[in-house]
Symmetry: C2
Subunit: 403 residues, 2 copies
C-alpha cells in the first residue's frame, strides 16, 4: 500500500503528543514503511478491569485512530493476564481477580466502546494471556534477568512508595515485564500510552532489544484534565465525559469545562483537522463561549454523528438555557465599546456592589452565562459576538444582557 | 518409630548451631514427633554448580546426619532449576548455564560425596526442576505477591549492592522465592543452612505460611574458617580440606590450622561425642599440639575409617616430620619451669636475636614446630607435654628442643 509523505504523517502524529522516544526512530520507521509499502504495527494496551471509557481514555485511542487513518496497523492488547491474577498479595480489594470469562467480557466491551473511535475494520484485538499464560518460571527468570531492581525502582510511583516505606509487592515488578513481553509478541513498532506509562513503554524497548528485535518507539500522550479543570479525568472523581453518554449530556458536560481547557480538548479530544488547530487556538482566545459550543458540538458529533450532535446543540440552546431562565427576566445594555470584563459587567448591571464582590462570587462558582458556570474572574465578554445572553448570579438573580 | 527424649535430641541439635528460628517451634516439632512416632522432614539445599565438597560444606551435612541419627528424614534438594538458568542477565561468566545433564551429573557427584557424611540409606535426593520447571508465570506472580521489594532488599548482600549502586538483576529476587517454594513442595519441618542463608531460610517460612503449611524451623550453622584461620574455607582461596582428599593430606592439612580453631573444628567438623566437647575444650587449652593431632585423627577417621586414619597419623609422625628434619640436628634444653613462650624460646635458643625479631618471623610464617607452621606469636609451649620436638626457622635452621 502507499502512505502519505513522512512529513505529512508526522504533522498529524505529533499533534498533542507529550513525548516521542526517540523521535528520529519514528521518522526512520515511517520512511521505511513508505519505501516498502509495509504498515507499522501500533500497540495500545488496555486494562480490562475498568470497562467504561471516557474522553481521557479516548486521547490515546484517537492517536491510534490517526495511525489507522494513515494506513498503519492497530493492535489492541487486552491485559487479561494480569486481570486474571488481580492483586497477588491478596491485600487489596481494589484489584479483585477476574475470571477468564470476565476479562474476555470486559475486553469485548472495551473493544465495542473503542470502536466508536477506531476504524474497527482495521484493528486487531488480542488477549495477552494467550502468550503470557504459556510462560514458565524459567522464561520469567530469563525475562527478569534483562533488567535490574534499581531500574524498576526508578519508576516514579515505585520510587515514591519505596522511600515512604509503603510496601511494594514483588509481583508488581513483574507486571512491567509482562506488558514489555507483549511488545515482543506482536513485534510492535510504536507503543502508545499516557505519560504515566512512560516507564512501562520504555521497558518494552529493553525487552525487545534483549529478544533481538528492533525496539519500539514510545509515544506518550498527556493525561486529560476532567471537567473541574484540575484533576485527571476519572469516573471516581465524577469529572468525566463517558464516550457512550447520551448526546445531550455529552454536549452539556463539555460546555462546563473551564475556558482554559477548550483548546486542549480541541487538540486532544476532537477530530478537528490538525491543520486548523492554530486557527481554533485563536478562536478560543477571541470567542471563548462560541469556541466552547463548537467544541461541544465537535466532540458530540464524533461519538453520535452530525444529526444527533446538531439536535443536542439545539436542545441545549432552546430548551436547557430557556428552562433555566425565568420568562420575565429583565434586560440590561452595558456601556462598552464591545468588550467588557465580566466583573465590570456584573457591577455595572447592579448585580454586585463592587468588582471585588463580583470576583468572589465568580470564584465561588455562583455566576453563569447562558447556563454555563464561569469561574475565571478575568473572563472578558465580547458583546458584539456573544450578546444577547443571560447572566445568572446566585440562585435567583437573572439579567439578559443586550448589545 | 521411637525417638530419644526431646531434651537429649536438643543437646545434639544445638551443638555448634548459630541460630534456631524459632527455637520453641523446634521443641514443639520434636515433641510432636516423639508423641506420634513420625520423623521430621529436614531440608538441605545444595548448589550443583560447585561439586567439590570440603569441611566447610560438611558442617551443615554433619548437622543433617545428626538429625538422621535421631531417626528423622533427610531431604537433599539439588538446585538444578537455577543451575540450568545460570546468570539470566548473561553478564557474568561466573554462573554459566548448565545443561540438565550437567546439573544431574553434579547432583549425583554431590550426593556421592555427601554420602561420606550422611546415612545414605536414609536420605532422599530430589531435583527442584521437578516442580519449579512446572510453574507458570501466573504461579510466579502469585508467589511473588507473598513478599515485598523492601523485604527482599533487606537481605544483607542485596542491601549492600543496592546502596552501592551495583546492579541487582531482577531475576536474583526470584531465586529466594524458588528455594522457598522447595520447602513447600517437600513440606519441610526444618531447613538447614549456613548463616549466609538465613534470609533465604526465613523466606521459606513466609511462603509455607502463605501456602497454608506450618512453617519450617530455620537452623543456621556458622561458616567454617579455612586453614588460614581467617577467611571462609573455600576452594578458590586454597585454604580448604576436601572431604575426598587422601588421608595423609587431610591429616597434614588439619594439623596446619591455627590453635585457636582446634576446638571450633572439633565442634563443627568432627563426630566427637557431643557430651565430651567440654572435656575437649579443656584439652585444646592445655595440650594444643596433642589436641590438634587428635582432631586431625578424628576428622581423617570420619572420612577414611580408623585403620586408614591411624596409618595417616603414623605416616605423618614417622615419615613426614623426620623427612623434614636433617639427621644431624642439634639439641637444646631451655631454662624454664615447664611452660615457655615461643618467642622467648626462639631467642633463648639463639635462633633469633630478640623477641621482636622472633615475632616478625612467626608472623611471616617462617617458624614451624614438628613441621606445622605456627603463626600465633602468643603461642606458649608446654615443654612437659610437647617436648621433644623440632623447631625450624626459615629454610634451613633446625633445633631439637628437649625437656
Amino acid at each position: 500500500m502507499t502512505f502519505a509523505p513522512v512529513e505529512e504523517q508526522l504533522l498529524h502524529l505529533r499533534r498533542g503528543v507529550a513525548e516521542i522516544v526517540p523521535e528520529e526512530e519514528l521518522v526512520a520507521k515511517l520512511a521505511h514503511s513508505c519505501r516498502t509499502g509495509k504498515p507499522l504495527t501500533i500497540k495500545l494496551g488496555c486494562d480490562p478491569s475498568r470497562p467504561d471509557l471516557h474522553l481521557g481514555h479516548a486521547v490515546v485511542l484517537r492517536k491510534l485512530r490517526q495511525f489507522q487513518d494513515m494506513g498503519h496497523e492497530a493492535v489492541l492488547i487486552v491485559g487479561d493476564f494480569t486481570g486474571m491474577i488481580g492483586d497477588a498479595s491478596g491485600r487489596s480489594k481494589m484489584r479483585p481477580a477476574l475470571s477468564l470469562e470476565e476479562t474476555r467480557r470486559n475486553g469485548q466491551s472495551y473493544f465495542e466502546q473503542a470502536s466508536r473511535i477506531l476504524d474497527k475494520e482495521r484493528v486487531r484485538i488480542v488477549y495477552n494471556s494467550t502468550w503470557l499464560g504459556e510462560l514458565t518460571f524459567e522464561d520469567v527468570v530469563r525475562l527478569a534477568g534483562k533488567t535490574t531492581v534499581a531500574r524498576m525502582l526508578a519508576r516514579e510511583d515505585f520510587a515514591g512508595r519505596y522511600t515512604k516505606d509503603e510496601p511494594i509487592g514483588l509481583h508488581e515488578l513483574l507486571y512491567p515485564l509482562a506488558q514489555a513481553q507483549d511488545s515482543v509478541e506482536i513485534a510492535a513498532d510504536v507503543e502508545l500510552g499516557g505519560t504515566d506509562q512512560t516507564f512501562n513503554l520504555l521497558m518494552g524497548r529493553t525487552i525487545q532489544k534483549a529478544a533481538g528485535q528492533p525496539p519500539q518507539v514510545c509515544m506518550t500522550l498527556p493525561i486529560l484534565e476532567g471537567l473541574d479543570g484540575v484533576e485527571k479525568m476519572s469516573k471516581s472523581l465524577d469529572n468525566y465525559v463517558g464516550i457512550c453518554e447520551p448526546a445531550s449530556d455529552m454536549y452539556g458536560k463539555v460546555l462546563s469545562i473551564p475556558d482554559k481547557l477548550t483548546y486542549r480538548y480541541f487538540e486532544l479530544a476532537s477530530d478537528e483537522d490538525t491543520h486548523r488547530l492554530p486557527e481554533l487556538a485563536e478562536f478560543c482566545r477571541t470567542h471563548p463561549r462560541d469556541a466552547k459550543h463548537r467544541l461541544a458540538f465537535s466532540i458530540t458529533r464524533l461519538y453520535h454523528g452530525t444529526p444527533v450532535a446538531r439536535a443536542a446543540q439545539e436542545h441545549f440552546e432552546r430548551t436547557i438555557i430557556r428552562k433555566l431562565v425565568p420568562d420575565d427576566v429583565a434586560s440590561f445594555r452595558p456601556e462598552s465599546d464591545g468588550r467588557i470584563g465580566l466583573l465590570n459587567l456584573l457591577t455595572q448591571a447592579g448585580l454586585t456592589p463592587s468588582n471585588g464582590a463580583a470576583r468572589r462570587l465568580v470564584e465561588q462558582g455562583a455566576v453563569s452565562i447562558d447556563g454555563i458556570r464561569v469561574t475565571d474572574s478575568r473572563r472578558e465578554v465580547d458583546l458584539a459576538n456573544e450578546a444577547p445572553f443571560v447572566v445568572k448570579v446566585g440562585r435567583r438573580r437573572f439579567l439578559r444582557i443586550l448589545w
